[in-house]
Structures are given as C-alpha cells and as structure tokens.
Amino acid sequence: MKSEIREILETADALRRQLPEDFRDRLVESIYTEAESITQKVVHVEGDPLSWEERIDRIVTHPLWGLPLMVLGLAVIFWITIVGANYPSELLATILFAIEDWGSKLFAALHVPATLSNFLWHGVYRGLAWVVSVMLPPMAIFFPLFTLLEDLGYLPRVAFNMDWLFKKVGAHGKQALTMAMGFGCNAAGVVATRIIESPRERLIAILTNNFVPCNGRWPLLIMLGSLFFASVVPPQYRSLAATGAVLGAVIVGVAFTFLVSWFLSRTMLRGEPSAFTLELPPYRRPSVLRVLYTSFIERTVKILWRAVYMAAPSGGLIWILANVHVGSHSLVQILSSWLDPLGHLIGLDGMILLAYIVAIPANEIVIPTIIMGYTGASTMVELESLEALRHLLVDQQDWTLLTAVSLMLFSVLHNPCSTTILTIWKETGSKKWAAVGTFLPLAVAFATTFLVATIWRLLGGLL
C-alpha cells in the first residue's frame, strides 16, 4: 500500500517536471474561461452598476479633496473616541474602585494580614482596574468605528491614495491601514499587517507600527498639551493650542514611521517593493452585527484580556516598589534617584523613566505612577484637577516646556508595550524580530530626546 502511494507520487512528480513552463497560466485561464461561459448563460446585468461607485471613487481619490477627506475622517473618529470615552471611563473607574474599597474592607473583616490585603487590592487589583477603566471605553468606541469604515470599503481607497508615499520608503500602501489601526492599539495594528502579502513589507509595517500613538498614550499627550501648550496662549486659543500640540506629536510619529521604514528597507530589510496588488472592493452597506462582532470579540476583548494579563503583575510590582523601604527611602525613591542622571540627559527625570519601566505592560499607568512617585503615595493615584496637577508638576517638580516636549517625543517613539511585543513575536514567529521591534524604537526615542534636550539647552545657554 505504502509503496503504491509512493509510486504514484513519484510518477506525479516526474510528470510535473515535464509540464511546459506556462502550464499554470493556461490552467487558470481555462478555469476563468469556463467560469465566464457559465456566467454569460445565467447572469444578466442591467444598467451600469458601477457608475455611482466610480463617482464616489473620483471624490475620495481626488487630488484636492482626497487627503483632507481622509484627515477629516480620522479626526472625527478620534474626536468621537476621546470625547465619548470620558463618561464611561469615569463610570467604570467609580465602579471598579468602589469594588477595591469594598474588597479591602472585606479582607480586613476576615482578618487577612494588612500587608497581603493591601498588596492584592491596592496593588494588583488597582493596576488591573486602572488599565481596564482607561483602556476599555476608547477601544470599545474606536474599533467599531474603524471596522465600520473598513466594511464600507473606504479604507482600501486610503491605501490607494497613500501608496505613493509608502512606495518611496520601500513599503506597502496597505501600511496606511495598519497605521490607522495602530492609533487604536498597536497590538491590533501588528495583527492587521496580515493583509500585506509580501513578507518584507509586512515586517516593515510590524516594526514601525509603534510610532503611531495608541489609545493608551493619548491621555498623556492630551494632558501635556493642555498643561504646557494651552497655558502659554490667550484663553480663546487654548483648546486650539492643545489640539495642535497633540497633532504635532502625531505628525512626528508618522514622520518617524516613514523615516524608519525607509531606513529598514535600505539596511536590515533590503529589497525592492514587490508584489503590490490592492483590491478596491465595491462599496456596500456594512452589516452591523458583523461590525460589532469583529470589533468587540476579535479586537477589543482579545486585546483587553492580554492587557489584563500583563497589568495585574505590574500593579503588584508598583505596590512593592512604593511600599518596600530600604532605610528611610522607598524603592521608588531609590530607583528613581539612580535613573535621574540618565533621565536628565534626555530632558526627563528618573521618576518618569521608572514609570515607563513599570508601565511596559500598559502605558495607561504612566501618569498615575509618576504622580504616586512625586507625592510619595503608597499606591497609584490621580489628581482631581488640572490645576492641582500643574501645581505638582510645574511648581514642585520643576517641569519645564522642555520636559513636556521630551516626554511627548518619548511617549510617541519609545518601545511598544509588552502586549505589542508579545504580538510581534507571535506574528513573526521570531524572537529576533520581537527584539528589533522593541529596541529599535527605544534607541530612536533616546537618540531623539537626547538631541532635542541638548540643542534646547545649548540654545537656552546662548539666548
């Protein structure tokens, strides 16, 4: 039996080697010819179903209106996401932190040792609750909207419009889509690169996705924008200045995406842009159920689960750092003073760097960790008002405009969160690429902030 199969396989292989070289072409051609003759018999086309689509295409790919339309579309999505997420975020935080109070009281009643109870509730649980309340609402709003655009058929047109730029840096036009997805979550952006067929261009898209700031980094950018840029202009321009600052950070990120893509396609990932085919599917009415399913189950829940998995231990770690004392100083104070010289070099300080190290699992907890460190609190905290925050950062901790600029740059350019690193590893199947995806942005972030801080200080000395 086995030898028979082997014989058949050998015969097949020998025959295959005798086929003419255009055999595959002819095979596909004959399949299409057959299909066409069947269609002609059974399908009747009335009118010209494509005319209105062509008209829409001409508008969305128009040299004048094409790009503004795209920017406007993205801006509207961001605006809805940020504004719309505010209220549910607060509600969720209230509920989740109420559970924290209730749980720690319950433990106290059960005579659980205070240290253990504090560690579990104010450390592990609080980290988890924080990430969920900050992360879930924006994702639950952003992803359905994004999936809606995808389902409408608009996104491939964006790739069509933007391809010329990506071609120049040796990348694929569909990277525009994975970048847009990255604004929601970089891990989702990395997964989305599956739509790019050629392995080289896909790797470029994976390794540079981190340069577009995700939902988790928006709050920090917005906070800095309103704290430092809005306050230096007349009141009526404040919201404009804050928006401008955030937009500037995004533009820097996008610029670095192109720069690093260009660099990669000339060094590590050399090669010509290859295999570009882009389907522009017909416009269609999105199916609401499918949109909700893909955006919630496929995207939101999966990513949230991974983030929770990572955030809980990180919450525990933060609590330990804040509550274990060596001599009269907590570990937070000791470590941040060690990191201070390095932080100063790039325009930041040791506390901010420490916050970024413990916030590798989720960038959402950078601000609460910084505030915890500055105020000497024993757990992550938030301040009620922007005024209180300004008092703490500017008056007490001497944050300057340089700190704000460096922090925004660092936030946009630094290494991806652990969820994204894990996703890069899974998608590429290679530890090496996961390492490149981690350390390349980190190096870029350090180099850029160092340059900016040094030039800033030199100019400051001259003026």
């Binding site: 292989d13 020998a14 295959r16 080697r17 005798q18 070289e21 255009d22 595959r24 072409d25 596909v28 051609e29 299409y32 010819t33 066409e36 010209d48 494509l50 062509e54 295409d57 001409r58 790919t61 128009h62 040299p63 094409g66 790009l67 069509f160 419009n161 933007m162 391809d163 010329w164 730029l165 071609k167 036009g173 067929e197 050629s198 392995p199 080289r200 050399r270 090669g271 010509e272 842009p273 290859s274 295999a275 570009f276 085919t277 882009l278 389907e279 522009l280 599917p281 017909p282």
Partner: protein, 338 residues
C-alpha cells in the same frame, strides 16, 4: 578567600565558554567549506569525470596545505574518492552536494520572488543560508513557494532525490544569428561585475528581446523598446533560447502601464519576469490571457502610480512595476464605454 575562589570559578567558566564558542565557530566554518567543495564538484563536473586537486584548491582560494587538509577530511568522511589523482563525489557525497545545491537555488528563488531582494544581492545571502537551513525548513520553504523548477538565474532545481527537471537548453547569445527573437534561460552569476552589468541593462532571466546584429565588436539587441550594444564577453555569459514565432512578437511592446484611462484592452500574457507568488496572485485576480481590462482610476498623488483596473468586474490596483509586465493589445472593435 571565598571571594577569590568564586572569582576564579567564574573566570574559569567564562573561559571555557569562550573556548567552546570558538571551537563551535571553527567547526561550522569547516563544515561550510566542506559543503562548498561538494557543491563546486557537482556543478563543475556534471558528467562525473573527476576534477584535478589543483582546481579545487584554486576555487577555494586556499593555500595548498589548507586545501589538502579539507580534501583529506572529505575523503575520511567518505564523501569523495580519488581516481588517478582526480577527485570524484561518492554516492553519499553526491547526496550531500545535491542537498546544498537544492537549498541554494530554492533560497535564491524565495529571496527574489517572495521577498523582492534585488538579483545582485541574493547570491551572498543564499551562500550563507544554504548551510544553515534544516531539511524540514527547506521542505516547508519548497512547499510554500510552490516547488519551483528553476532558480532566478534559470538553473534547474533538483528534487530531494537529486533528479534535475528537464528544462529548455539554450546557447550563448554570441552564437545566435541575427535577426531573431530570443528568451534568456540562464545568466552566469560569476564573475560578479559582468553579472551586475547584465542586470543593470534590464536583462533578466526569462526576459525576451530582439537580436538585431551580431558582429565581432558586439551584439546589438532591442529590449523593452531600448537599443543596447553588448560586448561579446558579456553576451557570452547570457544563455538564450531562440523563439520560433519571432515576427508576431513585435507588436507586443504595449504594456498595461501605457494604456490610457477608459481604454479597453485584452491581456496577451504576463511576462516571464514575474514569477512565483506574485504571478500566481495576478492570475488568480483575473489577469489571465484573454481577459478584458480597463484602467479606471489613477492615483492623483503618485502620478498614476498605482492605477486601478477593472478586471472581470472587480477593481484591482497595481503599481507601475507590475503593470509594465502585463502585455496587452487594444480592443479596436469595441467602444470604450462600459
């Protein structure tokens, strides 16, 4: 006292580790040179007549002594045998050689047609990776790229048992009488500077062109509408197959990239320069011979790059590089509307 012992132990472990690494490195280097010799033997001696020992040493660029050591090791491992001072592969050696050759050519195919690495760079990568890829990984790779029969240079890829596919044989471009229509079946990739010159002229394996004049001072060809003179030493490294249907090919110069928006055309074929995954993808999308195509949308920002085409009822955008490789003719008997 304890501290010194600890430092001593750690230093010892570290040294041992370095020695181990160095040993491993040398062994790998050694294995790679041995495999290179096997590959050289199978390529340069297809008729199994034996190769003089000096030729092998010359190929390796090694001193006589180093070459002798290497050859002795191959002999000791039973991979080669001697016949009146000439070196021949044993059955076992042939098997190893074919595995390396197969790995090299499959890797080159993968690098060009799946990753888009330029042709001039692939040799270097394949030379390194052919020694490292495991048999399982190679089998996966072959399956993924669809068991190609020829590498990007046009050389046949052996199967796992060492059988070579039957491929069109050709003759050097210098032996072709003018005028005739020819197709490249092989480009010799050594010496590298001549190979680079050929590639930079736009001549690649599978490309076809017209030979207009064949004179002692050089060969005059026309490729993609350009006139080129090739020196005989360059032309000698290009092996071509003379195509019988020469005259009818003249009108094929029009490519999909040259077609105006709204003009209906019919596909003649995809040029052989597109291979592998991309060729399959284009065919699957409907760019088959005989398909009716109409360019409908040009990118306003890239000056028509990419352009979207209506093919079999769906809209597909291609970049200029791909559109240039699809040969078409205009449909005169139909109006351009709908």
């Amino acid at each position: 006292m304890w501290l010194w012992a600890l430092i001593f132990i750690i230093t010892g472990i570290f040294l041992a580790w370095i020695v181990g690494k160095a040993h491993e490195y040398l062994r790998t280097r050694n294995r790679e040179s041995m495999e290179d010799v096997l590959k050289f033997l199978i390529i340069s001696d297809p008729k199994m007549e034996g190769v003089p020992q000096e030729t092998v040493a010359g190929f390796l660029g090694l001193s006589r002594r180093a070459a002798t050591t290497l050859i002795n090791r191959l002999y000791r491992d039973g991979l080669i045998r001697f016949q009146s001072n000439r070196i021949l592969l044993t059955a076992e050696g042939r098997k190893r050689a074919i595995r390396i050759l197969r790995a090299h050519r499959l890797l080159e195919y993968y690098l060009v047609y799946a990753t888009g690495l330029p042709l001039r760079d692939i040799h270097r990568y394949a030379e390194k990776q052919e020694h490292r890829i495991t048999p399982e990984a190679l089998r996966d790779l072959a399956a993924r790229i669809g068991y190609p029969l020829r590498d990007p240079h046009g050389d046949p890829i052996p199967d796992e048992d060492g059988n070579l596919p039957i491929v069109a044989s050709g003759k050097p471009l210098t032996d072709v009488s003018a005028p005739s229509w020819v197709r490249v079946v092989h480009i010799e990739d050594e010496p590298a500077h001549i190979f680079a010159q050929i590639i930079s002229e736009g001549i690649e394996p599978y490309s076809s062109f017209l030979v207009l004049e064949n004179l002692p001072k050089g060969i005059h060809i026309q490729i993609d509408g350009r006139d080129i003179w090739l020196a005989p030493i360059v032309a000698n490294n290009i092996t071509v197959q003379v195509l019988s249907d020469a005259p009818s090919r003249m009108e094929e110069q029009k490519t999909l990239a040259d077609v105006e928006i709204g003009t209906r055309v019919r596909v003649i074929r995809i040029t052989p320069r597109i291979q592998g995954l991309l060729r399959r993808r284009l065919l699957d999308l409907g760019f088959t011979p005989g398909a009716k195509i109409k360019p409908v949308l040009r990118s306003a920002f890239g000056r028509g790059d990419p352009t979207a085409y209506l093919v079999r009822g769906s809209m597909i955008a291609l970049r200029k590089e791909q559109a240039r490789e699809i040969l078409v003719k205009e449909e005169f008997n139909e109006t351009s509307s709908a």
